[in-house]
């Protein structure tokens, strides 16, 4: 039986790991990326996502040397994203051992890029980051840094037939707030998108995961703050998900790294 995935997301500012709130620019520093990768590898997490969250805004590429060091610590699948604008950018990341690349800004400017990339590298390695923001009018929009007003569900209807393998759906309003997931948003998106969906934004305690898995049919969840700022581990989260009757992968022993 396919297990529900629990995926730590590491967000990076070009120098260190950071954690934002509501996608704000004053993200808090939370440590060293390589060290974090080492710990998550020792905890046998299902996958890892590493994002350079300011790369597109700052018009830079992800630091390949650092990304390579992170991947070298990981014996599970790793997705990398940040500032990907060309097939060459994707090729560079796959060449150092990334299993998936996460596309965001580029697909807003040029959705055709999704198919251009998947025809070369396969749709399984093309993940889309869909950042949803609920505005004061109560409607959802696709968050973007070019101040374009893009109604979220229209955008998803437009791109759903493109050839990608997965989406990471993040609630911007709930990002870093640790008050729970936006379940209304997830329920709407899971009706439109037919590839696997990774839900992110809002996890603060294990009960939030129970609410999410009890009320939706999604099979993957990502989180960041809960791992940085609380004592909960991915294993604690999986035990909570298991309580809802959904399958998870829990290994008996964790191997402890010595260095």
């Amino acid at each position: 039986m396919l297990k529900c995935r629990v995926i730590p997301i590491l967000t990076f500012n070009g120098f260190a790991l950071v954690k934002s709130k509501e996608f704000g620019s004053n993200a808090r520093m939370v440590g060293n990326a390589i060290q974090a990768a080492k710990v998550y590898n020792s905890r046998n997490v299902d996958e890892l996502v590493f994002l350079d969250i300011y790369a597109s805004d700052k018009k830079r590429k992800i630091n390949l040397q650092l990304a390579r060091l992170i991947i070298n610590e990981c014996f599970m699948p790793v997705a990398l994203g940040g500032g990907i604008k060309s097939l060459k950018d994707i090729e560079d990341l796959l060449a150092i051992g990334a299993d998936k690349v996460v596309l965001k800004s580029k697909i807003i400017e040029d959705p055709e890029f999704i198919n251009e990339a998947s025809v070369v590298y396969g749709n399984q390695c093309i993940t889309l980051a869909i950042d949803a923001i609920k505005k004061e009018d109560g409607l959802y929009y696709l968050y973007n840094s070019i101040n374009k007003e893009i109604p979220l569900f229209e955008f998803l209807e437009e791109i759903k037939e493109y050839n990608f393998g997965e989406i990471i759906l993040t609630s911007v309003n709930n990002d870093g707030m640790m008050n729970g997931f936006d379940i209304e948003l997830v329920k709407k998106v899971e009706k439109i998108i037919k590839v696997p969906i990774v839900v992110a934004g809002g996890a603060g305690e294990p009960s939030h995961f129970k609410q999410l898995f009890f009320n939706t049919n999604i099979e993957a969840v990502a989180a960041s703050s809960i791992f940085h700022f609380t004592r909960y581990t991915p294993r604690d989260i999986k035990l909570a998900i298991q309580d809802t009757g959904k399958p998870v992968r829990i290994l008996d022993q964790n191997h402890i790294p010595f260095n």
Binding site: G97, A98, V195
Partner: protein
């Protein structure tokens, strides 16, 4: 022994080498005919489309060499993901094309009448009906899958592991010296490494 990881422009060869190194095997990433001939075991990884995979093997001049080494010289061979699918008679991604044809069958899109999400992506349990210790000891554990197409074999006797995703589909195959896996042992942490080691050590 030296393992030749075949370089043919189809994805993540670095991860495979990292795992082989961790297991203590020496390996080379290569498209050189002489290096592949001299190697003790050939490993064909790969992600991407079937058609592109066959075209690349052809463009790298590897089709006849691999067939001779594996089918005639009986060199041990491990195919992973696309490297398993390419062994089929035909593939269908994105259209019907001939494969290596070492194992009879066709690679077709996964169908889910229940409406499960495709690709089949994540950790799933291997089942086996084999009586071999190699397969029994590695079954009932979770391995990492990511694929939208699956290998429908003509002869079910070659199937060593199945996986359930709205029905049982082939997760691994063996025919003589040819081992093939749809999942990614190199991405499956300890259980994946254990399985690779058991297969390789039969020839070490």
């Amino acid at each position: 022994m030296t393992i030749a990881i075949v370089k043919y422009g189809m994805g993540n060869v670095a991860s495979v080498q990292k795992v082989l190194k961790k297991l203590g095997y020496s390996s080379i990433i290569t498209d050189s005919h002489s290096e592949i001939k001299q190697s003790d075991l050939i490993l064909l990884p790969g992600v991407g489309s079937f058609k592109q995979g066959m075209e690349n093997l052809n463009n790298y001049g590897l089709l006849d060499l691999l067939t001779k080494e594996v089918l005639i010289n009986k060199k041990p061979f491990i195919g992973i993901c696309l490297g398993m699918q390419l062994l089929a008679t035909y593939g269908n991604e994105p259209e019907k094309v001939a494969g290596l044809g070492w194992i009879d069958g066709e690679v077709v899109k996964i169908e889910s009448p229940k409406g499960l999400r495709i690709p089949h992506l994540g950790w799933n349990t291997l089942n086996t009906s084999s009586s071999k210790e190699l397969y029994i000891s590695s079954s009932q554990k979770d391995y990492y899958f990511i694929h939208s197409y699956h290998f429908k074999v003509d002869n079910p006797d070659v199937v060593t592991f199945t996986v359930n995703y709205d029905g049982e589909i082939a997760a691994a195959l063996q025919k003589d010296n040819i081992y093939a896996m749809q999942f990614h042992p190199e991405k499956s942490q300890q259980v994946g490494m254990d399985l690779l080691k058991k297969i390789i050590d039969q020839y070490a």
